[in-house]
């Protein structure tokens, strides 16, 4: 692939992320028995937001947003999309774990300079939620590393393609990841970070115009990353981008169904959930893998 991958990978992430936003709104509308907006409605929204007059709250407000956007784009370069993986290094999984934290920290920095009480509630909720899903997530990643005896994402995909999918050989870890997937995506049972009815959309309350557009683009990238990671870790990745994107769409639609039928948790309920069932399943999976031994 070479240099072309460095451009192709973020472009695919951007286009598919925006497509997911449109798909999300259409599927939600159809589940509510509504007609719903056109598929290109997020594109209209983002064009409008970029051309609006916007209010800035200082240098950190702008730089924090750029930091989170850059963090998401760099994370995307480490994730194989089919056979496109621009930064194919041996320790990819560990680097992704570190870089995935850049986006919430950047948003927290940026939002914090807005000095609105709703923002501080939103930030504290976002950080607590990140704290709660990181515990099972790290256990799941540890299980995978131990089972396949590699910390390279590309090798992980190769091993899964050679034998069976991760969700077949490590069912407990796969189920645990699927349980924390809504929390990582920030969708309905865990959307207390951006609850428009309680804290007037929380973190993004002071964003307007082009800052809000950048926030939405960052959100689209983040959704893409989380789902692509699930497909790579448990659904065996893919040899070419098309099959990979098909698998991603299936996982995303399942996530939208969860979003459509569940009400919103409070933050302490979300933490209690994330630290019980997904953590217990992930821990059990780790112990079973430790006793039975790894792959090959």
């Amino acid at each position: 692939m070479g240099v072309a991958g460095f451009i192709l990978s973020p472009v695919i992430g951007f286009v598919i992320g925006i497509f997911f936003m449109g798909l999300f709104r259409i599927i939600m509308a159809r589940i509510h028995w509504r007609y719903g907006p056109p598929l290109y409605q997020p594109v209209i929204d983002i064009i409008k937001l970029f051309l609006q007059k916007s209010v800035s709250h200082g240098v950190i407000f702008e730089l924090g947003l750029l930091l989170s956007l850059a963090g998401s784009v760099v994370t995307l370069l480490f994730i194989p999309i089919g056979n496109i993986c621009p930064l194919n290094i041996s320790g990819g999984l560990l680097v992704v774990l570190y870089l995935m934290l850049l986006a919430p920290i950047g948003i927290a920095l940026s939002g914090g300079s807005g000095s609105n009480p709703n923002i501080s509630i939103g930030i504290s909720r976002k950080m607590l939620l990140a704290l709660s899903y990181e515990v099972p997530f790290l256990l799941i990643v540890l299980t995978l590393m131990f089972y396949y005896r590699t910390i390279s994402l590309v090798n992980l995909v190769h091993f899964q393609r050679a034998s069976s999918w991760g969700i077949v050989s490590l069912p407990l870890a796969g189920i645990a990841y699927f349980l924390i997937l809504p929390a990582m995506l920030g969708i309905r049972p865990f959307d207390m970070v951006e609850a428009p009815q309680e804290i007037s959309s929380g973190l993004k309350v002071e964003y307007s115009g082009k800052f809000l557009a950048l926030y939405y683009i960052e959100h689209a990238f983040r959704r893409f990353i989380v789902i692509a990671l699930f497909v790579n870790l448990f659904l065996g990745g893919a040899g070419e981008p098309f099959t990979f994107l098909l698998k991603m769409v299936i996982v995303f639609v399942l996530g939208v169904f969860i979003n459509a039928v569940f009400p919103r948790f409070r933050i302490e309920q979300a933490i209690r959930f994330n630290w019980t069932w997904p953590t217990i399943l992930a821990l059990a999976g780790l112990i079973i893998t430790y006793i039975w031994g790894g792959y090959g």
């Binding site: 709104r25 509308a29 509510h32 028995w33 509504r34 007609y35 719903g36 907006p37 056109p38 409605q41 209209i44 929204d45 064009i47 409008k48 051309l51 609006q52 007059k53 916007s54 209010v55 428009p196 009815q197 007037s200 959309s201 993004k204 309350v205 002071e206 964003y207 307007s208 115009g209 809000l212």
Partner: protein, 182 residues
């Protein structure tokens, strides 16, 4: 259609993505939940409610405006990013409606903030919001929905009326005040 997008992207974007600020000003807000949910689906017109005035560009004044509400309306309106559009919903913001002799309500809203369109009725049906939205599209196309420009130009007049109704205002003026013409 597509050439219009390339010629005037701002106008077209504002037309098809009107985000309404979720602010219940009066009893007319009872008509808005059916509009944004299943029965009359406003999202197919691109109209969605948002939680913060910073993100909105459509302001529905739903129902009567008391003096206390007027304060919040002015602050919300001034926080919205330009271009922004206001629609008065129901007969109360137009001329006071059934509160025409009340000591505590505003009779003519357009003295305090510029209003781009009116929906008459007490209460208007939810379909009337869609008629208003499609009419607002025509106004945006013809550049007649320029209330935000008017607010900037005649800010002295609006500020004077606001101060007459509310006494001394707790926030600084948004634009320069021309003392001579005021």
């Amino acid at each position: 259609m597509l050439t219009k997008w390339f010629k005037q992207p701002q106008k077209m974007g504002n037309k098809y993505s009107l985000w309404a600020v979720y602010f219940c000003t009066g009893c007319g807000i009872i008509e808005v939940p059916p509009v944004i949910t299943t029965r009359w689906d406003a999202e197919r017109f691109g109209v969605i409610p948002v939680g913060s005035p910073r993100q909105a560009n459509l302001f529905l004044i739903t129902g009567y405006v008391s003096l206390k509400t007027l304060k919040a309306i002015i602050r919300t309106y001034e926080q919205m990013p330009e271009p922004k559009y206001t629609v008065g919903f129901g007969s109360c913001p137009i001329n006071g409606g059934m509160y025409w002799d009340s000591y505590n309500t505003i009779k003519h809203l357009d003295k305090y903030i510029p209003v781009d369109g009116w929906i008459a009725g007490c209460m208007p049906r939810p379909e009337a919001i869609f008629i208003a939205v499609t009419h607002l599209w025509t106004l945006i196309d013809k550049e007649m929905a320029n209330g935000y420009k008017k607010y900037r130009e005649k800010y002295t007049y609006y500020r004077k009326n606001q101060e007459r109704a509310l006494g001394k205002l707790a926030w600084p003026p948004l634009y320069n005040i021309n003392k001579r013409n005021g």
